[in-house]
């Protein structure tokens, strides 16, 4: 049927259907660069303030302006935050993708669109609400240069009216977004209310989707993983960050730039206790970070795949010279430039074995936004304790999307600076050990030596760090036995690391025979899939890996299940491969379901993978 006028009859009326409350998903289809982000997050936040569990996912192109972009808000009374495959409600603002949006709607789904779209609507099992966007904007006294931008507020208003978003909650969201700037808040709010009024008088609701306030967001906040990671690093005492812009990691370093001045200026002097340098590339970013780590600063860099590839050589040096440094890899689809604006877990094997020669870097896998915060500070403790580079592997979905998450918790332990010797400490050690100090001596038998820092003025403190063969005192050596001894001792640290890395999270179900293993941002989809499977009479146990090296719980978990599914966002099943390597005896019990198409996994896909495998 033709667009523009809203039909009254011959549309599926929902009056007879039972309403769907707080359990559906809304997609905003817009053109990037059109400023729809404000409108979309405003809706997201308003829902959150209504106490309803929500999550928002932005599917955007790798360009700046003019291409299609989708923002999906999932409303879930049960608190599921994973992606779903089909839309219940679509706000279609982009003519270019209009027909496609229509396809993607569920039967009985709702389509909101500007009333001047001219293309056919090919389905009659959906409900459409045309919106007089141009008209409403004209009526508003918006300055012309802002019109395109506030146009987006029209759909906020209409949507609010049709599904029942509290306008005052919307106001709160705007107030937050515009940092209290009255003028901006009102000009937007007025359009929203005007649109809502128009909808009230001109549209009759024939769909089944409704919102009702809850209080399921108590003690929760909305945040993205990159901001959380940056804040965690700040609470971890980050002092040096070298970085180079790259999607989807840039916002982590930019959050450092935003929050450090507020949180980390010396109370007395007002001086900065940190240094952030935008480097000329990633080779320099990691080089700077390694230099700073060597000097005893809590040092980090943040990047994504291509940058990680460029850091390989320096990470090998840091590994062998035993320099603590934290590297955040906010993963995107690779290899190469790949899909810069899509999510993946594809850098795991490369990252763990990075650089030539034998290496094995510890890895942390934050599985939620609050864990990004927690691992932000823990990573420094781990790196300094072990005197090795530590990788924190996040991804675009976790890092750039807004998530409902627990409030960030203040670190429950003190900074662990590891084994550092200042003048007095060194003197003490010299006294105790008859003058025998060596930078690379394994004094405690845990493989971790003691380090002095540049600036230590004790005449015995200096050593010459290097990537070439050296003995326990840092002296250059090509002696076969020396190399073997020192390098074996370094490997010992990897075993010691098991004592310090975060343990996996295990959730069991009554009578489960199947084990599921996953890491990072796969978590919400896995948890939801487990409920779906349980509902079908297939209970599952679930272990979420949070770190490499693997701790014993993992081996035990695998042994407890005939069959363990490793769920991951890559092509080759990299986590499964790592498990196979370190637990060859358990290998026969491991299966994997891996998918990498740039989108977050869905519960439905996981469910089907496990079922079809069961049916075999």
């Amino acid at each position: 049927m033709a667009l523009g006028q809203q039909p009254t009859t011959d549309q599926p009326s929902s009056s007879d259907q039972t309403p769907i409350i707080n359990d559906f998903c809304i997609t905003f289809s817009t053109i990037n660069g059109s400023g729809s982000a404000t409108a979309n997050t405003t809706v997201l936040r308003a829902l959150f303030r209504m106490g309803i569990p929500v999550s928002g996912k932005n599917i955007f192109p790798s360009n700046i302006q003019g291409l299609p972009t989708w923002y999906t808000i999932r409303v879930s009374k049960d608190g599921y935050l994973g992606r779903v495959e089909q839309d219940d409600i679509v706000v279609a603002m982009n003519p270019a993708t209009f027909t496609r949006e229509i396809q993607n709607l569920k039967p009985g789904g709702v389509l909101l669109h500007p009333d001047d779209f001219r293309s056919e609507i090919t389905r009659d099992d959906i409900i459409t609400y045309p919106m007089p966007v141009k008209k409403l904007i004209k009526e508003s006294d918006t300055p012309t240069n802002l019109r395109d931008y506030v146009a987006n507020m029209v759909y906020v208003g209409v949507l609010a009216q049709m599904i029942g978003i509290d306008l005052d909650k919307i106001y709160m969201a705007l107030d937050f977004h515009f940092k209290g700037k009255k003028k901006a808040i009102d000009s937007n709010y007025n359009i929203i209310t005007a649109a809502a009024d128009w909808a009230k008088t001109n549209l009759t609701k024939t769909d089944v989707y409704r919102l009702e306030p809850m209080n399921a967001t108590e003690g929760m906040i909305m945040a993205d993983g990159n901001t959380a990671g940056a804040l965690g690093s700040i609470y971890g005492g980050v002092q040096f960050a070298g970085w180079y812009p790259i999607t989807p990691a840039s916002s982590l370093a930019e959050a450092l730039n935003e929050y450090l001045p507020q949180l980390r200026c010396d109370p007395e002097t007002g001086k900065a206790t940190y240094v952030v340098v935008q480097a000329e590339d990633e080779l320099a970013a990691i080089g700077m970070a390694v230099g700073a780590g060597f000097s005893g600063l809590r040092s980090m860099t943040s990047t994504s795949g291509p940058g990680l590839s460029l850091m390989a050589e320096y990470l090998g040096l840091a590994y062998y010279a035993e320099v603590p440094v934290v590297v955040w890899d906010v993963q995107r689809v690779g290899p190469s430039t790949g899909l810069p604006t899509r999510t993946a877990q594809g850098d795991i094997l490369f990252g763990h074995f990075i650089s030539h020669g034998d290496t094995n870097l510890p890895i942390l896998f934050p599985g939620s936004v609050e864990e990004c915060f927690e691992f932000g500070w823990r990573a420094f403790d781990l790196a300094e304790r072990l005197q090795t580079p530590v990788l924190v592997m996040s991804d675009l979905d976790l890092g750039m999307n807004q998530w409902m998450t627990k409030r960030f918790e203040y670190p429950d332990t003190h900074l662990d600076r590891g084994k550092i010797l200042w003048e007095e400490d060194l003197q003490k050690m010299l006294d105790e050990r008859a003058g025998d100090y060596g930078r690379y001596l394994d004094v405690d038998g845990d493989g971790i030596p003691y380090r002095t820092l540049p600036g230590n003025r004790h005449p015995k403190s200096a050593y010459f760090a290097r990537g070439t063969g050296h003995d326990e005192y840092g002296r250059y050596s090509e002696e076969p036995g020396v190399w073997e001894r020192v390098f074996t001792r370094i490997d010992k640290k990897y075993k010691t690391a098991r004592k310090y890395v975060p343990r996996p999270i295990v959730n069991n179900m009554e009578g489960a025979s199947i084990g599921i293993i996953a890491a990072g941002s796969a978590d919400p989809a896995v948890e939801e899939a487990r409920d779906l499977l349980a509902a079908e009479g297939i209970p599952t146990d679930y272990l979420r890996i949070r770190a490499v090296p693997f701790t014993d719980e993992i081996k035990e978990f695998i042994d407890r299940h005939e069959c363990n599914f490793v769920i991951e966002l890559n092509r080759d099943g990299q986590i499964k491969k790592l498990l196979t390597l370190y637990h060859p005896e358990q290998a026969p019990r491991l299966r994997y379901a891996a998918k990498m198409d740039g989108l977050p996994l869905t519960a439905h896909w996981i469910q089907s993978q496990i079922k079809c495998n069961e049916e075999k």
């Binding site: 906040i221 080089g287 780590g293 060597f294 000097s295 003190h414 600036g455 760090a465």
Partner: protein, 347 residues
């Protein structure tokens, strides 16, 4: 001046003897230019009364980059990666900004693989002494052409070099270096005085020192050889450095025969005029001189350019006077109270 002042009793004003500035015995070839530079570093630091523990050494990879172990044994150091020393030094120097940084690199390390990092370090004016021991070849890998090898040069097993050389000083100048000098390992006095001035410069000091590789590239007619240097070195001036505390007694010099450049800390670089007067604070003149020298294959040496006004990279950050790497948890971790504030910022 310090020389006389201290050498009498064999310790300097820091109470240290020359020995306290020594390094391990060199493992470089006998006669390698790098060795003579290393000994001038020892001499300069001794005469400047630097405390070794206040100095930190850096290098890349190469014969030249090995030399930091041949001086200042009591200083920390980091022998990094080939061509990537600049980033390493930049990060490390923020650990304790009261320390002096000195980096030793080679022409392959700086002009071939390291050109990008070198120029970005210079551009940031990170305060440190950066020495390029320039021999036109890759010594440690046995004599391949580096990017500073002159066009048409023919070497054993390498054939003829078809490309024009990278001019380290010109590169530094284009990148807005604030201290640019060229010297010759065969002119120890000049090397030493330039080093002293460099240590007292508040910004990056680039020293492009021709340092012959006697094993793989010491051809008489090559600008990188001893013979060429001995025969053709053309100093822009005779340079000597006067530390802050000694004031210059003007009658030492005849009217108008010297230029004085005052460094940020009040020390003075004295430039005794030779044939023609040269003003190292004039950037366009520096361009002219370097371009001309390049065109005519002249080995001009001395302080090519200095700018004592530009703030150093460290100054562009508003850091406390105390070393960052000595800060404690109370300074590094925000208060427990701040946590709520942060959470509220999150919506």
């Amino acid at each position: 001046m310090t020389d006389q002042a201290t050498t009498s009793k064999n310790v300097n004003l820091a109470g240290l003897s020359r020995n306290d500035y020594r390094g391990l015995p060199s493992t470089l070839c006998q006669g390698c230019g790098h060795n003579s530079i290393a000994s001038q570093i020892v001499a300069a630091c001794y005469e400047l009364d630097l405390v070794p523990e206040d100095v930190i050494k850096f290098s890349g990879i190469g014969c030249s980059s090995k030399s930091p172990t041949y001086f200042l044994n009591r200083s920390f150091g980091f022998n990094g990666l080939h061509g990537r020393m600049p980033s390493l030094a930049l990060g490390a120097l923020f650990g304790d900004v009261t320390m002096h940084g000195i980096g030793v690199s080679g022409d392959g390390d700086t002009a071939s693989i390291g050109l990008g990092q070198f120029k970005h370090l210079v551009r940031r004016n990170m305060p440190m002494v950066y020495i390029v021991e320039n021999n036109g070849v890759y010594g440690l890998t046995k004599g391949q052409f580096s990017a500073t090898a002159e066009k048409g040069l023919e070497l054993k097993k390498q054939g003829i070099n078809p490309f024009l050389p990278v001019d380290i000083c010109l590169e530094a100048l284009v990148s807005n270096a604030t201290f640019v000098a060229r010297s010759f390992a065969g002119d120890p006095k000049q090397v030493k005085e330039l080093l002293k001035a460099a240590f007292h410069h508040n910004g990056i000091a680039i020293l492009d020192i021709i340092s012959p590789c006697v094993t793989f590239h010491n051809l008489e007619d090559s600008i990188h050889s001893y013979t060429f240097g001995k025969d053709h070195e053309a100093p822009l001036h005779e340079i000597s450095f006067i530390p802050p505390r000694d004031e210059i007694t003007i009658e030492d010099f005849e009217e108008g025969t010297v230029r004085e450049v005052e460094m940020h800390d009040g020390s003075v670089v004295l430039l005794k005029k030779l044939e023609n007067d040269y003003d190292p604070t004039d950037r366009s003149q520096a361009f002219r001189v370097l371009e001309e020298a390049q065109r005519n294959n002249w080995l001009i040496t001395g302080l090519v350019y200095v700018n004592t006004q530009m703030p150093s990279m460290i100054e562009t950050y508003d850091l406390p006077a105390t070393a960052l790497n000595r800060m404690t948890e109370s300074q590094l971790r925000p208060t427990r109270e701040s946590m709520d504030m942060v959470n509220s910022m999150m919506f």
